[in-house]
Symmetry: C2
């Protein structure tokens, strides 16, 4: 086997050698088909690729991995291309092939009694939701990109969302993984054993690995009973600290608290200003707002009565100022539309630096107030605020540019400085610079800067063990050479 | 640094170099103190060691790891020494030092509101239970060895027990790990972020690693509300298949089903015969028995009413034959004493080959019946049966020797053949040869024989990445040279 240093020749050989082994549709070289896959959905990252491989079977994935390894062609796995951190965008030098898992999209099994589904990497989240619901079950993870995000991407990024409070991230919902490892062998963890102590947990190692240790081809996923009833409430509240007190009371009262989202008055204001058809759930003004939801798994439960009881006690001792319960499914949807429109609304107010960060839940109220104040002081004219999943210790911390800032200058020059400042505050609070979006290429340098050293040592040791030639999603998450170029 | 090939000299140098760095109590060479640590509690494995290191601080652990690495002295971490697979017994050649974590036993924090405790590796499980209960919380994992088993050992073996059905194994209860990695660096995952997507999950990698990737020094553990009420029931039933039907009905009726143990009539008979003071919970004869328990987290719930309702329906359509509810805490304890005495009772009936195995839950009823029949046919005179955690797909599958078998001959000659036969059946059913006890030294060769190639490749790749010189619990779980001697 010769390994020419010419990447274009290697890509040609890969395609030529694959041709007799896979279906014609699996090999795509048409630039118009490839073009949309070269840019992330927020159009922040741009790559280059002349070869798209779109296998429709695990055997095809194995053939691709085997020959790509021999020809030393890097592979960039891609699902719905909805990464927030450029995790599925190929390098800019064109040496990699895109490995799309979208055609590997069979729901292999769905067992409502066992509460398990086996879905291939290309199954779209909303399709999984529908299939589970048809069996009166629910896959309890949802997020804005559910119409395009795929199981393989959700697994590989350990996706979060708005139901993590009760059910955890993908990590908690993955009972087993099937993956083609870099040596071409097929790891089959799908049997979903509830107890299996045969050494290091390879399933969990692949969850959140961002495609850097191999290619996830399928996963066994946990299902829960379909929702029998739900109660959404909108609460006006004085401070993040009061919100945490209210959160703990709900958690003591019920295990079925699914969501507990906190947002400042200015986020609500941005939505009401910029998103047509929205209106404030409460009549008065409050500095902070909570959107919470309690569900019931059986028709016997009455989530609205429980929410009313906890809120009544909170009014009595001043923990909450005002609240309204959604009187209908339509009203609950209107509440959630406000929450889900914050990013769009804030974008409409001008450029911002967005940070998906987490700190321990108990530390979050103080962090939200103090970090915002520190940012405002350090960068005069900017305005910082956090909103999001208080119950998970995960806020989306946005710093909006000063009025009349040139967007190009802001993104190129100021955002890196602002983000480094925010990340330093997060590390000082014992937190994570990536709560639910992953590292991808966007945060790789910051991860290298902020470590800590033991974590970086272990990440590199594992990467080197699995993929010493860095052929799997190169440049994402971790590289063997520190300070490797981002693209 | 010279690396003499004389292990005794290396051990002496390790002790000499440590002496100025650690407290005098940390270095133990007294043979009488060391002797009990050289054998596992079931007295199946025997090792040799002349040096015991018993650090009382993380800094001492780091000093030990640093110098042991330089002197190439293997370290065998040990907690309560209650491994079922020889996982904490040192090699027989005396070249390793025992690293006891028992003195690293501080409960650093317990936050009832956050539902988290930070416990050092040497904290004993029953002490953790007591500390949580004092704050009206519960650490929901328990097992027979709770009076000696330590947090470090429970984490490192991903321990199970009788509450896994509801709360999962240790893996689900560990929110973060602190560990000294083989390079001497301290990995600190204790901050217990609910969301943290900074790459591969190092906490979960260390859970169940059996001390082969580093030394766990502390863990952040999840707590749940203390039990407000419980209902234990004993059910007579026709078959494992009927038991699975009953299990699914309880799971549909409540999320608070904590235990669902299945045992055959002969296991009950062995207990009634050999364990003084036990009596049958039911008056009639039944081929199979179920012991189940439903708890309540709040005083509002009535677990007994729920159990009665589900059982009434099961009597009506013939799924269950008879049942009795524990009328008091004492009666519930008497039920559990039967379950927990099975191993002792079966030992009293003669020698046996015991297997801690799992298969998918749905496959377990058929496996229990067919595997027992296959064993009985293949080894005439022996008698096979399974009992245990049906809801976890985890039974303890025992094959009792034919009457009048010489125990020495049985254990030396016949057990390996019987176990290989049983393990082959387990693999054919898509199961695991180690459900909750781990691999240790007892099952390492069987894992090498049966472990699918992709799993073995990945286990070795990780081991090599973290510990290329095999200085951390050598000979346990996985070795870099296949077929390395067991001791």
């Amino acid at each position: 086997m010769t390994h020419a240093t010419d990447p274009a020749a290697a890509l040609r050989r890969l395609a030529d050698r694959l041709a007799p082994l896979v279906a014609p549709r699996t090999i795509v070289t048409d630039p118009d088909t490839i073009a949309p896959l070269l840019t992330d959905w927020r159009r922040r990252f741009h790559g280059a690729a002349t070869l798209l491989l779109a296998p429709a079977s695990v055997a095809e994935v194995q053939a691709i991995v085997d020959i790509a390894r021999e020809e030393r062609v890097p592979l960039v796995p891609q699902g719905g291309n909805s990464s927030m951190v450029g995790g599925a965008t190929p390098p800019g030098d064109g040496r990699a092939a895109i490995l799309s898992l979208r055609r590997l999209s069979r729901l292999r099994a769905l067992d409502p009694d066992a509460g398990l589904a086996v879905a291939e990497a290309g199954v779209i989240l909303s399709d999984l939701h529908a299939a589970a619901l048809a069996q009166r079950r629910r896959f309890p993870l949802s997020l804005g990109a559910k119409g395009v995000a795929t199981v393989g991407g959700l697994v590989s990024t350990n996706a979060g969302g708005t139901q993590v409070l009760r059910f955890g991230t993908m990590r908690a919902l993955v009972a087993g993984v099937e993956a083609v490892l870099p040596d071409g062998s097929l790891y089959d963890g799908l049997s979903a054993l509830k107890k299996d102590n045969r050494g290091y947990d390879l399933d969990q190692l692949l969850v959140g690995a961002e495609g850097t240790l191999g290619v996830v081809t399928a996963a066994t996923l946990r299902l829960v009973p379909a929702v029998a009833a739900r109660c959404a409430a909108w609460v006006g509240i004085a401070s993040p600290a009061a919100a945490l007190t209210l959160l703990r009371r709900f958690q003591r009262a019920t295990p079925a608290l699914e969501s507990f989202e906190l947002l400042p008055a200015e986020s609500l204001g941005a939505v009401l200003t910029h998103i047509p058809g929205t209106r404030s759930p409460l009549t008065g003004d409050h500095p902070w707002h909570v959107l919470l939801e309690v569900t019931a798994d059986t028709p016997d439960d009455d989530p609205a009565a429980l929410v009313e009881r906890v809120l009544a006690a909170a009014f009595a001792d001043g923990v909450a100022a005002d609240a309204t319960l959604a009187a209908s499914e339509a009203q609950a949807k209107a509440f959630w539309r406000i929450r889900e429109s914050i990013s769009d609304a804030e974008r409409a107010t001008g450029p911002a630096a967005q940070h998906d960060i987490s700190v321990p839940v108990e530390a979050m109220p103080r962090f939200m107030v103090e970090a915002a104040a520190a940012c405002d002081a350090r960068f005069p004219g900017t305005r910082a605020s956090g909103f999001g999943h208080l119950g998970d210790g995960n806020v989306h911390f946005h710093v909006r540019a000063a009025p009349c800032t040139d967007p190009a200058h802001w993104y190129a020059e100021q955002v890196p400085v602002v983000s480094a400042f925010v990340h330093d505050l997060v590390v000082a609070a014992g937190g994570s610079i990536s709560a639910e979006h992953g590292i991808g290429q966007m945060k790789r340098r910051e991860l290298e800067r902020l470590g800590p050293p033991a974590r970086l040592w272990a990440l590199r040791a594992i990467k080197r063990a699995f993929d010493p030639d860095e052929l799997f999603n190169p440049g994402k998450l971790v590289t063997l050479a520190p300070d490797a170029p981002i693209q």
